[in-house]
């Protein structure tokens, strides 16, 4: 292949590096008005009075919309598997159609003004009074009230194999440990932004979203218009990480404000409004217990978690999933439970579940290794399962031990003195840690059309999303190679709900999802071209069989005989030829959903599919202050085939960096009395900066998974898993201290 597997530059790199790429708040409209939100200051209650008098008198104010004057919208749809777009409901609250307050920060008014400053000024002048109701907001205090989480079709919260507690009690060696992880926020640098306008009952929305289809369908429901009346456009999204998957209040309220004022309205959330209206990752309390024989073989593995949801909604993370797949323990038990809080619903964030679950599991494995006097990699090797531990299914592909082996060699693992606190460099204590990475492979359903024109160009139309992953680049590469055309002959249209739907950009599934449909469409297209050639007198392909002909050099050829696409089309009198996968009719949508579910369930019966990897970390810890610096990193990954080695490396590094943030700095602080987030800003919530990040080395084994399209497994999330554990294990190696509560800040090491 000419392009697949190569370090091709991003097709949109120049647009981004010149500032020409337009994001959701950057589309100009004449007569544009600006919106700002007013947030509730109580966790639960009823609004007894809203005084918008001062706000309305503010020069430039166009409207103040509250529950007293907002037009009625349909309530948010309840999530149901019959209509996947209902999964985009972020909360059950009918915002501005109710006097009820369900979380501290819930929007209770929207101000629309001629200028941004006037909107923000007036928003501060809206006076709201409440009758407060008793609220449950303190996650840690609610642990005892956690209730078991139910298994769902898509994820399993409880599994048991054998009697793990009994096996643990009988084990000659064991650890039984408690971990906590705080809530964290995505903090994409682009705040959630929407520009909306209505033309009669037609709504156009520029929205920062990971799912234009879901956003369209939700808005159609909320505003009671046909889906075809709503168009959601989102070609560039300034980072998302799961935080732009669902439809959050800002999107709906911008559309509402545009309807009320009859003008185009733009709302770019302030950073504070992002924290108050868009959920983050749940905090967790976890228990991991492992029993083992003296030789290291695990006899029991128990992993349980407590996480939270809002009473009005929230994503349940598969925190214990990693423990179902990683180690060949004779007895196994995973359990998840939930507390329900009067709080903003938490949501999907990069590797929901696995990111924090792998912290607890992989830290525990390290502790067990020390107890057994075994190298942590050797302990993992001795427990590497031949089949999926929880149910005996075959792995479609799993090169975890190869990742460890290659990584150990390159990182110099063997030179490490095993005992903690053994290496010192001036004031720095130096340590190395290792952990496994793991994330399941997903594949959804995408519709797609292809057009090949007589000038040799190809147009791919598919409503996927670009938030930095480089999907347009990868899909261009695959298209060019599959049809045998130059890369610059391929144009891709994406990020628009009017395009064939591609579902959500999530679960690390987008490349595999779109690739499957693309390969289908390419085959249909070349079949179509061949059929034209065969029918056309004078074509050198007449009389040949389809299977003997290949797409290459801009046409169809058998050995040296054949001709270019242009020649075939022109000879047949055609300007272009199309191919299509899936359809946008209601029947087409249903067929797509049925196809997805049946493939999903069949695959699930046969295979355990996942990406995995080995994370190697070196830290330097200031012996006096407890300051932790990450000084070296190597991640070796088995992510199936890599389409673009350059963009893949960037995405893998990005996950590792987000994991370093989670390990050392990030924490969304909630006032346990009021439920209010107190560090709702980028100055008080610390994400890694340039100075925190050394050279991050990443390697991919690049071995295609035979069960996935083109062998692509997906790599957006696997790289954040295992990171916090590798850091914590390295901190232990450096200092002799085990920190089981994230983030590992200085105070915990003093």
């Amino acid at each position: 292949m000419t392009y697949v597997g190569k370090p091709v530059d991003r097709v949109d790199g120049t647009l981004k590096a010149t500032g020409a790429a337009r994001y959701a708040a950057e589309f100009p409209y004449p007569d544009l008005a600006y919106a700002a939100l007013v947030h509730a200051t109580v966790a639960r209650g009823r609004i007894t009075r809203i005084d918008a008098g001062l706000a309305r008198k503010t020069p430039g104010v166009v409207a103040v919309i509250t529950h007293l004057n907002a037009p009625a919208m349909k309530p948010p749809p309840k999530p149901t598997p019959m209509d996947l777009s209902t999964m985009a409901t972020s909360s059950s609250v009918s915002l501005l159609n109710t006097d009820e307050v369900h979380w501290n920060g819930q929007p209770v008014a929207v101000v629309v003004a001629e200028t941004l400053d006037a909107a923000r000024e007036a928003a501060h002048l809206v006076e709201v009074e409440y009758t407060e109701l008793p609220a449950t907001v303190d996650f840690a205090a609610e642990e005892a009230n956690a209730r078991p989480q139910k298994n769902t079709l898509l994820s399993s919260a409880n599994t048991q194999k054998g009697d793990a507690e009994a096996a643990l009690a009988a084990a000659p060696f064991s650890v039984d440990l408690r971990y906590t992880t705080p809530g964290v926020n995505h903090n994409a640098i682009e705040p959630h932004s929407t520009t909306a306008y209505w033309d009669g009952d037609q709504l156009v929305l520029h929205d920062a979203t990971q799912n234009t289809t879901w956003a369209r369908d939700q808005l159609a429901i909320r505003f009671d218009v046909p889906k075809k009346n709503v168009r959601v456009i989102s070609p560039f999204v300034g980072g998302a990480f799961g935080g732009k998957s669902l439809v959050w209040p800002g999107t709906v309220l911008t559309a509402l404000a545009a309807k009320v004022t009859g003008r185009p309205v733009r709302l770019m959330l302030t950073r504070e409004s992002v924290y108050r209206t868009v959920g983050g990752r749940t905090p967790s309390i976890q228990r991991v217990a492992i029993g083992a024989e003296a030789g290291g073989s695990m006899t029991a593995l128990i992993h349980s978690s407590v996480s939270r949801v809002g009473k009005v909604g929230g994503w349940t993370e598969q925190i214990t999933t990693v423990s179902r797949h990683m180690y060949d323990a004779a007895a196994l038990q995973v359990r998840q439970s939930l507390v329900r809080l009067d709080a903003l619903p938490n949501t999907i964030m990069r590797a929901p579940g696995e990111s924090i679950g792998s912290f607890a599991l992989e830290s525990s494995v390290d502790e067990l290794a020390y107890q057994l006097g075994l190298d942590p990699i050797e302990l993992r090797a001795r427990n590497e399962p031949a089949r999926n531990p929880v149910d005996g299914k075959a792995f479609s592909h799993r090169l975890l031990l190869d990742c460890f082996e290659q990584g150990a060699k390159e990182f110099g693992w063997a030179e490490r003195a095993p005992q903690p606190r053994a290496t010192r460099d001036g004031r720095w204590l130096v340590g190395m840690g290792v952990a496994a990475a793991y994330h399941p492979a997903w594949q959804f359903q995408a519709n797609l059309t292809l057009r090949l024109s007589a000038d040799g160009t190809v147009l791919v139309r598919c409503g996927f999303h670009e938030m930095g992953m480089g999907t347009a680049t990868a899909i261009s590469q695959i298209t060019a190679d599959t049809l045998g055309v130059p890369l610059d002959a391929v144009t891709i249209e994406y990020g628009d709900s009017d395009l064939p739907g591609a579902g959500t950009a999530g679960a690390s599934a987008q490349t595999a999802t779109v690739t499957a449909s693309l390969l289908d469409a390419c085959e249909k297209l070349t079949d179509g071209v061949f059929a034209l050639a065969r029918k056309t007198p004078g074509s050198p392909l007449r009389g040949h069989r389809r299977q003997d002909v290949t797409a290459r050099d801009g046409g169809l050829y058998r050995d040296s005989r054949g001709e270019s696409y242009g020649e075939i089309l022109r000879r047949a009198g055609r300007e272009s030829i199309d191919a299509q996968v899936g359809s946008e009719t209601r029947l087409g949508e249903l067929t797509g959903q049925v196809r997805f579910m049946s493939k999903f369930l069949m695959d699930r019966r046969r295979w355990m599919k996942a990406a995995c990897g080995a994370q190697f970390c070196e830290v330097r810890v200031d012996a006096e202050t407890g300051e932790v610096r990450v000084s070296r990193w190597l991640g070796v990954f088995d992510v199936g085939r890599v389409i673009n080695t350059k963009t893949a490396a960037s995405q893998l590094r990005g996950g590792i960096i987000m994991g370093i943030g989670m390990a050392l700095a990030e924490e969304t602080l909630v006032d346990p009395r009021t439920g209010r987030i107190v560090n709702a800003s980028l100055s008080e919530y610390h994400v890694p900066v340039h100075a925190d990040i050394p050279t991050i080395e990443v390697r991919c084994l690049d071995d295609p998974d035979p069960t996935m399209p083109l062998g692509v497994v997906g790599l957006g999330e696997v790289s954040v898993t295992g990171v916090a554990a590798a850091v914590a294990n390295a901190v232990h190696h450096a200092t002799g201290r085990r920190i089981r509560d994230l983030p590992i800040t200085l105070d915990k090491l003093l």
Binding site: A17, D117, E190, R653, I693
Partner: protein, 165 residues
Amino acid sequence: MADIRMRVNGSIEKLDVEPRVSLLDALREHLGLTGTKKGCDQGACGACTVLVDGERISSCLALAVQYADRDITTIEGVSDPLQESFVRHDGLQCGYCTPGQICSALGMLAEHAAGMASAVTEHVADEEIELTAEEIRERMSGNLCRCGSYNGIVAAIQESAGSAR
């Protein structure tokens, strides 16, 4: 309202803005120069970095009226090999922090060329401070990249600094 003139990317722009309007909002909302990004609006992320008379500032913390008659360069006015280096080294993913990173890097390279030391400079009195990766990281730490393209950004700046400058 205040009538001001400023030179933006080489052309004189007349603006009629309230004194409270930030330079960032003036650029984005009044002049339609949306290449300069808003990430936090409080000087914590660096996405809004522009060059004023060649020096980098956070335009969200600047009032437009303070910059009357000054020479502003936004990403739309930048044409520098550094931009190609960013693409080649993949110093970007979603692209949202990129204009700020690029403007900041240009300002930083000028500071370095002028002999300015940083918190990690070992010998601050040296006439020529070597622009190591560590120096670049320190000097670029006001520009957040949540996608984590830091390695690529540093490589792009190193390449650019090593060639033409």
